[in-house]
């Protein structure tokens, strides 16, 4: 097997006396969608923030394409090709799609000391990238606020991919979405994966994970319960692992298996 795009080896993160992550190992291969499941408080957020350079691990080693790395800031992670798309902070609704797409990396033209944004180029690229993701914009100047939640996630994903992300971390991209929008986002994940990008899909919805995941890792109370390949594990087992087994199994019995 080839080297993973990103590898987290026995990562620990302590916040004072609290052990948020107690030795988590995780990796993503090229063109793979690795789902990270866990209930609220399981340590998912801490883990992705460690991967994206917001937190520094207390112990453990991170490797990008086999090389040991230490990220001092989110910027370092971005430069190493690791892009994170946050659930509700992906886009600024009052700004146009183009302005959002290029935010922080605006293409510029210049004349003497004057520099300005090359809107013609920016709009063209935005339209092209969006249509390659299956979103037909009316116009690139339309405000992101007019897009649906799923489309906003897709714009954010398209942006990350266009700017050369090798690993895409998606923080609960589907948790606030309706059924149709969710399937759009899942289709986008599939498309991105086929382009050779490693996707880390964080969710607590087992069905969404099963729909696109190649591998599944469950995080519970800062520990992993191992990684399973697609086809090796049933949805019910994942659900049990997330909840820590036992109690949910009992509850499920009394609720008639609806959770």
């Amino acid at each position: 097997m080839s080297t993973p795009l990103i590898e987290m080896d026995n990562i620990e993160k302590h916040f004072g006396p609290v052990i948020a992550l107690g030795g988590v190992s995780f990796n993503v291969m090229e063109g793979e969608c690795h789902c990270l499941l866990g209930d609220n408080g399981a340590g998912k957020s801490t883990f992705i923030k460690t991967m994206s350079g917001v937190h520094k691990p207390t112990k453990g080693v991170m490797r990008v394409s086999g090389q040991d790395v230490v990220f001092d800031s989110p910027r370092d992670a971005m430069e190493a090709g690791i892009a994170t798309v946050y659930q509700d902070l992906a886009m600024i609704p009052l700004m146009s799609v183009t302005r959002n797409f290029w935010m922080g990396r605006e293409p510029r033209k210049s004349f003497g000391p004057f520099k300005w944004i090359d809107f013609k180029h920016a709009n063209q690229v935005t339209m092209d990238e969006m249509s390659s993701m299956g979103i037909n914009l009316r116009e690139p100047e339309q405000a992101v606020g007019t897009l649906s939640g799923g489309e906003r996630q897709t714009v954010a994903i398209a942006r990350a991919v266009y700017f050369g992300a090798k690993v895409l971390i998606l923080d609960e991209p589907t948790s606030a979405l309706g059924v149709r929008q969710t399937s759009n986002v899942l289709a986008t994940i599939d498309r991105v994966r086929k382009a050779g990008i490693g996707v880390i899909f964080i969710t607590h919805n087992v069905r969404h994970a099963m729909a696109v995941g190649d591998r599944f890792t469950v995080l519970n109370r800062g520990q992993t319960h191992g990684t399973a390949k697609r086809g090796e594990i049933k949805p019910e087992e994942l659900q049990d692992l997330m909840a820590g087994g036992q109690e949910l199994a009992e509850l499920e019995g009394s609720l008639g298996g609806t959770i």
Binding site: L89, M103, K115, I117, M127, D128, E139
Partner: protein, 365 residues
């Protein structure tokens, strides 16, 4: 490419979501209104135009700064006090200490822009609302201005700047008048009335275009270009729209906000310098309530109080409406206190309109 849905955006809707729309309509209405009630009062004679033109330009200068700062998501309530402070600094340095006027002007700019940076720094570092931080500076600067003025000259009005500024190159840049020859020619051929008696006999009643107006136009063009065409402008929108989301994609939000506080202070100092050069004196109570008037211009211009949306052109039109109405009521012989009633009314109306437009943009119900 599939833009077959392009036609679905109606022209009206597109115009509706432009931030300047309200201000454009307001400007037209205001002009029509005063044409009807004060058309024959001299309001639209060259002198009249100069009268409200200068007042509007004054509002525009501070509105441009307030506009960019508001779009970046912050307020500056210390603008008015800053105007008084900058004026007194210039007067004390030039008249009382005898420094050249150009040195005093540069010193005032340096001190005020540094105070703007301090405002911004405190807002960023403490995480407090800029409303509170700059409210503190509203009092601190006003108090300091009066104290400094009384300490050095035993009075709150410091005169004699005009004499000191005679022939000073930088003073002309703020208090001068251009296109004098053109206006003299207008006078000679009868477009503009000329004085018929006194020492200025034969000169046109409107001497030329005051530098103040030029400053206003230059700041409006600069602000509009910066905001809509440049990378930094995109960062201004982003910082006000959602600071955290902007930080995640690498926008230096803190730097943008601090620079906007500095720019607002710069605009206040331009205002103060022009005023000192025009009157030939500085007074500790100058600039009272200007911070609110600037914010009203910006809001009439379509900017959202919550940041992330607005237009410099809109703010400039807001300033024009403001100036025309304030002077127009005078020309129409109306009770001048009614101006405040008008101001409050139009403010409420503008905010309601803006909120509605924001809902249209973001699709909120």
């Amino acid at each position: 490419m599939s833009d077959e849905r392009l036609k679905q955006v109606s022209a009206i809707r597109r115009a509706m979501i432009r931030p300047e729309l309200g201000a454009i309509c307001g400007t037209i209405l205001v002009f029509v209104f005063f044409f009807m009630i004060a058309g024959d009062s001299g309001m639209f004679s060259p002198e009249g135009v100069q009268n409200w033109g200068v007042v509007s330009a004054q509002f525009a200068i501070i509105a441009v700064g307030a506009c960019l700062l508001m779009i970046a998501g912050e307020f500056d309530l210390s603008v008015g006090s800053m105007i008084g402070f900058a004026g007194v600094v210039i007067a004390i340095l030039s008249v009382h200490w005898g420094l050249p006027v150009w040195v005093s002007i540069i010193a005032a700019f340096v001190v005020c822009v540094a105070l703007g940076a301090l405002n911004g720094f405190l807002v960023i570092k403490t995480g407090l609302p800029s409303f509170i931080v700059t409210l503190a500076f509203l009092y601190i600067l006003r108090g300091l201005t009066i104290w400094l003025s009384i300490l050095t000259t035993r009075q709150t009005i410091i005169g004699g700047v005009k004499e000191a500024a005679e022939g000073d190159p930088l003073a002309w840049l703020f208090g001068g008048v251009i296109l004098k020859d053109l206006f003299q020619w207008f006078g000679d051929i009868g477009i503009i009335d000329t004085f018929t008696r006194g020492s200025r006999m034969g000169q046109p009643v409107v001497e030329g275009v005051p530098m103040l107006v030029l400053w206003a136009i230059a700041l409006i063009i600069f602000g509009h270009w910066l905001l809509t065409k440049t990378r930094f402008g995109n960062w201004i929108f982003a910082s006000g729209g959602d600071a955290q989301a902007a930080r995640y994609v690498g926008v230096p939000v803190n730097r943008v906000k601090i620079l906007m506080f500095m720019f607002t202070a710069f605009c206040a100092t331009v205002f103060a310098t022009c005023q000192v050069m025009e009157f030939g004196s500085a007074a500790a109570d100058r600039g009272l309530l200007k911070e609110f008037e600037a914010i009203i211009c910006v809001v009439i211009g379509g900017a959202l109080l919550t940041g992330g949306y607005g237009s410099v052109i809109g703010a400039a039109l807001g300033a024009l409406i403001f100036g025309v109405v304030q002077q127009g009521l005078f020309f129409a012989g109306a009770e001048s206190s009614l101006f405040r009633v008008f101001l409050g009314g139009i403010l409420i109306f503008a905010v309601i309109m803006n909120t509605y437009i924001r809902r249209m943009i973001t699709g909120e119900r």
